[in-house]
């Protein structure tokens, strides 16, 4: 017991020292002489952390471990879980609706994420220029991402893209007789993608910060050498903001995989029509809470975690090729 209490303190103090050594002005001794913090202080630290630790153990770690166990069982909420090994996973691959959910989600991630980021970057570049009323425009373009995730926005979306609603009528003016998007299995996914693209505020703000960091001299020098706007964009802007771009790609990809609320509401809780908006989490929810197959739903959840982990790993691996950090960084 004593040993366990002391050892984390020792590790912390060791870390402290190395940090001060690296960052201290002359690499001198740390200000408190490097004395490890007292046992009392450690205890107080843990005590203050205890609500968080308890929350983590009981609300996150515990349920996660339990759901990992459940993913190998058949569990209908009422009877005790029955161990069935890998059955849930084999059932999943044999299930056409599960395959459909993978297809819909992949499509949503592959189309939605790049378009959203392109929109965010384009608007960020416009807003980076100095002009009158700049802060108003920034706030106006950011606003949708504040309300975009809400239920009401999804309901409004449903109304906009319904039969004979504003989108349908506008289409007709231009001679496209597509009809409402909401009832059309081949169109509704694009209504969802439009909804996510519309919420580009958060990546836009991050892009804006990145763009501000690009040194003006680079553009001036390029202009002197006769480089046009496209050349400047591809050879200065993009490489210079590539770390920010990487961050946004990573975040938005992970985020897109977890889409649920908008798909559920725009489709009126059906994830349809014809399973056209049956995103992965929607099917997971249906299996768990409607069909009472909690084991199957847990297995789906874990597979999603692994898939997102893999995609993240691939993105990290790929950054060597296209993300440029300033000298001194990696």
């Amino acid at each position: 017991m004593t040993h366990i209490q002391i050892s984390p303190g020792a590790v912390v103090s060791g870390d402290d020292r190395s940090v001060t050594e690296r960052s201290g002005p002359e690499g001198g001794a740390p200000p408190d002489g490097g004395k490890p913090p007292g046992r009392r202080e450690n205890l107080a630290g843990y005590l203050f952390m205890s609500p968080w630790i308890a929350g983590f153990l009981f609300l996150i770690a515990g349920p996660m471990v339990f759901s990992l166990y459940l993913s190998f069982t058949e569990y209908n909420l009422f009877e005790a879980p029955r161990w069935i090994g890998l059955q849930n996973f084999t059932d999943m691959f044999a299930d056409p609706r599960w395959r459909q959910s993978v297809k819909v989600t992949s499509w949503y991630v592959l189309i939605g994420t790049p378009v959203k980021l392109a929109a965010a970057l384009a608007v960020a570049m416009l807003l980076a220029q100095k002009r009158w009323g700049q802060s108003f425009y920034r706030a106006a373009f950011y606003a949708p991402s504040l309300i975009g995730a809400s239920v009401s926005a999804a309901i409004v979306w449903r109304a906009l893209f319904s039969d004979d609603a504003i989108v349908d009528r506008t289409q007709k003016v231009f001679g496209f007789e597509v009809g409402g998007w909401i009832g059309d299995p081949s169109m509704i996914i694009y209504a969802l993608i439009a909804l996510t693209v519309w919420q580009f505020g958060a990546p836009m703000v991050i892009f804006l910060a990145g763009l501000k960091q690009v040194p003006r001299e680079l553009y001036e020098a390029a202009e002197v050498d006769g480089a046009g706007p496209w050349r400047r964009f591809f050879h200065i802007t993009l490489p210079m903001i590539s770390p920010v771009l990487f961050f946004n790609v990573l975040l938005e990809t992970i985020h897109s995989f977890q889409i649920f609320g908008s798909a559920y509401i725009v489709s009126n809780g059906s994830c349809g029509p014809a399973d056209a908006t049956l995103v992965y989490t929607c099917y997971l929810y249906e299996q768990g809470f409607v069909n009472s197959r909690m084991g199957f739903a847990s297995a789906m959840g874990w597979l999603l975690l692994v898939a997102v982990g893999l995609v993240t790993a691939v993105l990290f691996w790929s950054q060597k090729r296209w993300v440029h950090y300033e000298e001194g960084g990696r």
Partner: protein, 428 residues
Amino acid sequence: MSRNNGMDRRQLLKLAGLSAAGLGLTAAGCGSGSGGSGGPVTIRHSWWGADDRAKKVQQCVGLFEKKHPKIKVKTDFQQYPDFWKKFNTQAAGGNPPDVIQNAVTFLRKYEAKNVLLDLSPQVEKGNLDLGGFRAGLEKFAEIDGKLLGVPVGSNSMALVIDEKVYEKAGITPEIGWTWDDWLAGMQKIRSGQKIAGDAGPHGVMYLYDLILRQNGKAFFTEDGMGFGEAELLPYWTEALERVKAGLYADPNKVEQIKPASATAKGLSAGEFTWDNFSVRYSAEGKSSYGLAPIPSTDGKKTGQYLGSLMLSGTARTKHPAEVATFISFMTHDPEVARIMGYDRGVPATTAQFEAFQPTDAPSKAIAAYETSIADAGVLEPITPHPAGADVIEAAFLRIGADLALGKTSPKDSVKQFFSEAKTALAAN
């Protein structure tokens, strides 16, 4: 400073201890009160429905609390699908509401999981009155000798029609009309008024059940499916043809106006649904709506039965006597009938049936419809619904709609339906 802190802490601990003890005492006080000593008891009641049902139920609860001052009722309601999601979670967590609104589709499912309260001991104790129920409703929710629910109202499948469209086409549906008559009517409406005859009935499980019953089968047996691919394939193949021919409403448009009804929104001249739902049509639509009888194959047997919403207790309740008292009140008190009207169907007991004399047109139509089918003698006993029936019903509706949208062939749709039904029966 540290010593000061220590003292403060100690004082704080003392204080905390005292208040905890205080809480304990209050809790103990509550406990003894809700026990046998006659203090107030609180039971929880939840149901599904829209806002206006909530207002009506709340009014009834107020009345109940006035007549039974020692019982308090806490209420809660959701829309139909959300209701069961929440109930599942509550029941699995061991904390379901004491009294719930229920339907036949869920009886076996929750009976198998020991969630529902057997009310028969309460009948013997005199807390629940089973007298005075209308014919066909006395033993509605009895399964394996257990009384798992008490009906609050009865309803039956009907064909809701847009009266103006039918009138213009010169069609008067009458008891004894056949499916061929119905089809001829739809064709006449289509060619004369360029409107679909039906919203598309191929996903409505309860209608298909009637069609199967007209042919000597049923949708469900006690523990499985009462029909096979051989029956469903021609039915769905024909449905797809009728969608293409414009006899059934454009599924693309039906999808977009949900949760509103296709007939009320002018997409079709009629649709099959429960008769008590017809109250919503005049609110949603612009035309006038009526109830037409169910067509049959031979002009006689419609396969109809009385369906019903019911009230059930849950097995974990600590207050079965109060639960029974509340259910008894809701099913027998004449004042409740005057408040609820036909919202949950035609009242199940004669006392309540006589207490409410409808004055509005939709309620009058429902009363006339139920009287007419009772007089025609077409009513039969209901067929059982196995555990998992709710999931199968949802799958039938979903796959039926997908089929109409032309995304899958009838053959694949039928296969998919039976595969999902099999999974649902195994999982529940």
